[in-house]
Point group: C2
Chain length 470, copies 2
């Protein structure tokens, strides 16, 4: 999960602003609801998703885009879709620059020499084979950094200490992640030699949280790293003593060449309208520090398992159910953007999409930007999901990150909103490992995705796909 939360309000406004669709009401036949209930109840008895994410984290592990782990993940996904009985399995190439972390370390040089636990932000340059030694200048917020005069930092390191707050819906991330994404460019404009941020994460574990950053076009590029929450506290405690705090950073991070990975697609082919699709999925890549269990092994596993459950039925859905394991989400929705371009001509055949990319917490809300005439169908889906503890919530939420390029072209989204209270404790850290997933909660998520996908695929009428101009 990357930037969805930042963008969600914009998409929501766009949805509210979009013109009224044609008046024909979309509904779902009662027989489809009955099948969906069977799928739901069956999913609650199965550990298919657990087995999938256990397999991915054990047999592949980290799969940073462009690394050998990425290649192994693609081969794994193709084999897994096949083994799960999908009707059609294919890959579509996705090309991007390769960013590698390399070795990295940090330390406080003075006034109190201590190691500093840090990690490069994704996309950052390194320190050019030498240690970078400089005094840090503290800013409580990105806005405070923005407010100082250009070139005033004079080769010092900008240190932004904003703490990410914990919310069930993860909105604390959206409030703090700007430091990570744009901090380096703003710091460079102020004359800084590097950027250090407090990790965009909610736990006090001594793990630094990585995640993508980007350099402004034409701006000076400086190394950017995150320190763990305890290390950020340590720096603040040193700074409180009102002596200059000097740190040393070494980072080998670099962007090196180009790589072609694959979006991996498994499809349960529709019986009546096979070219119309309900899209579900997650992203196959991960950061390199953990094993990518919650980000986003869980999403891949949940949606693969939901598709597989549907594929195990004696009948086929009216429309196709397409499960996409997107390539390189973490470094800019790259697989999703290339998917959207490749399928630009058939966006209207993407009836509705839902991505699972917010960990493995229980789903508590069904949300969608479906227009009025399709809302009755959403309500019918909501009724089948209600026994899972899922409430229908209108006028809130947004699509999973990989759906953004498709939604921008007009696809309608649904969101099966998960409890993300602890998501940012583990996300983008070495601590993103299998043990953070509750197998029982995972069953609930498969149940919701399977029932949702089946019912959406059986709908009479559409969900109002329409270019949203994003």
């Amino acid at each position: 999960m990357r930037l969805a939360i930042l963008l969600a309000p914009a998409l929501l406004l766009a949805a509210l602003a979009c013109p009224a669709e044609e008046a024909k009401t979309t509904t779902i036949p009662p027989a489809a609801a009955a099948v969906a209930e069977t799928l739901r109840d069956r999913a609650l008895q199965q550990d298919t998703a657990w087995d999938i994410v256990e397999s991915l984290t054990t047999e592949v592990g980290q799969r940073l885009a462009g690394t050998e782990g990425d290649a192994r993940a693609v081969a794994w996904a193709v084999a897994k879709f096949r083994a799960l009985g999908f009707d059609e399995v294919r890959t579509e190439p996705v090309t991007f620059p390769v960013w590698l972390r390399g070795e990295e370390s940090g330390e406080v040089l003075s006034p109190f020499p201590q190691p500093l636990v840090l990690t490069a932000l994704g996309g950052s340059i390194g320190t050019e084979g030498a240690p970078l030694d400089a005094e840090i200048v503290h800013f409580e917020t990105l806005d405070a950094l923005r407010a100082v005069p250009d070139d005033s930092l004079d080769g010092r390191i900008a240190f932004i200490s904003t703490r990410t707050q914990r919310y069930r819906d993860g909105r604390g991330y959206g409030l703090s992640v700007g430091s990570r994404v744009d901090g380096a460019s703003i710091a460079a404009a102020k004359g800084a030699s590097a950027l250090l941020i407090r990790s965009i994460g909610t736990s006090n574990d001594r793990f630094p949280h990585t995640g993508n950053m980007r350099y402004a076009e034409g701006g000076r590029r400086i190394p950017a790293a995150a320190v763990s929450n305890p290390d950020a506290d340590l720096l603040l405690n040193m700074l409180r003593r009102e002596q200059p705090v000097t740190v040393r950073i070494r980072m080998q991070a670099a962007t090196v060449g180009e790589y072609t990975s694959q979006n991996v697609i498994g499809e349960v082919r529709g019986s009546e309208l096979p070219d119309e699709v309900v899209l579900i999925g997650g992203h196959l890549d991960s950061w390199d520090l953990g094993t990518g269990a919650i980000d986003d092994g869980a999403g891949v596993a949940i949606t693969m398992a939901a598709g597989a459950l549907i594929a195990s039925l004696p009948e086929r859905p009216r429309r196709s159910i397409r499960v996409v394991a997107f390539a390189n989400e973490e470094q800019g929705l790259i697989g999703a953007r290339q998917y959207a371009e490749r399928h630009a001509a058939s966006i209207r055949q993407h009836l509705i999409g839902a991505e699972s990319d917010f960990g493995a917490g229980r789903i508590y809300g069904l949300r969608s930007n479906a227009p009025d005439q399709a809302w009755p169908a959403i309500e019918q889906i909501g009724a089948v999901l209600a026994p899972l503890g899922i409430e229908l919530e209108r006028g809130v939420g947004g699509p999973g990150p990989d759906l953004i390029p498709l939604v921008a072209r007009g696809m309608t989204w649904a969101q099966l909103a998960q409890d993300g209270t602890d998501y940012f404790d583990y996300h983008h850290t070495p601590n993103d490992t299998l043990d953070k997933i509750d197998p029982i909660a995972l069953r609930q998520q498969v149940a919701a995705y399977a029932a949702f996908a089946w019912m959406a695929a059986q709908a009479e009428g559409d969900f109002g796909a329409e270019p949203k101009g994003l």
Copy 2:
């Protein structure tokens, strides 16, 4: 905290078996209880201990015995005792071999290449400048390893996967730590090339837990390391696939030369019997991975603050209150052993001792091996501690680890038993940082130590010091 829990049952039995002391009952004058109540209530309003541990973790940080951090910690402790108003501050030399960790890394080579998060056990040798590549052989327990024939491991790596269980009193540590302490020697006898253990820790954070190990006299020495709990799970998940699992370990760990550190002692001098002492304290050294906040910055801070609070009174206690910040506890109670040898002739003048070395959780129990005739005094102390939520518990517990050499020579111990439910989540890991300490709970601990020390120092009669033959 190191081995206390292992040894506690033996000490307890020794206490119960010890001969009846002379019949004169020890009691504490009512005026002393009144002062103790004042100390208790004042401590609950002060953050002195927090300030001390913040200072130690910020200005010194890691202080592995024999490193530059050790030297800085000694200088820090001398200055802090002085600043806190102790009547007498001195150091006593403690000499020991220096063990250094150096660089270390691990990875699975096959069947599924993945990084492996590991750390050397304290005292372990390294891999002699080269990677050590070998297949792992899994044992669920140390006893299972013991049970295989000598030389049967044939150069493979013994992997012990026992999981440490969580208990308030930390007894899960005692049940699993044998793998860490003795595993390498036993594995070497079986022909292993190295030992890997599941970390002796209760959290699922991807931190390996270090801690001391020892080689059997005359036995072959092999490298010994702990993998984090998630990494142990990963190895088990790979092993379940019934293919050979080969790992690579690189460790620079080595014992290099000798170092002389210091036990640092701050004393509030007694007004009537200054050569009789009530000993409280903690240990000043730490492992190198974190900043030694809970192990044992907290214990040093609690007992320093308790002593300082007493030193701030207009009157002095009858006997001296001696706060000892012991050197090198982690690598074998070395400071404590040398203290006990140095003070062997005056053990009977150590009236009673209590060490804080179990983190910073609230104290729930007052325990002691004081004999019958001194129990009325313990009960009087218990009555003053009761409003802190502390219950008197007879016939259980044991001394803090640094007291073991003194107790073996006859000193009576008290234990202010702390809630250690989460202690082994952080202990001996990079996650042992200041944020793991609750400042409010810390006040309660200072209150208990201050009231205890004052009352014990005012006792009429002794606590039955007697060689226990340990």
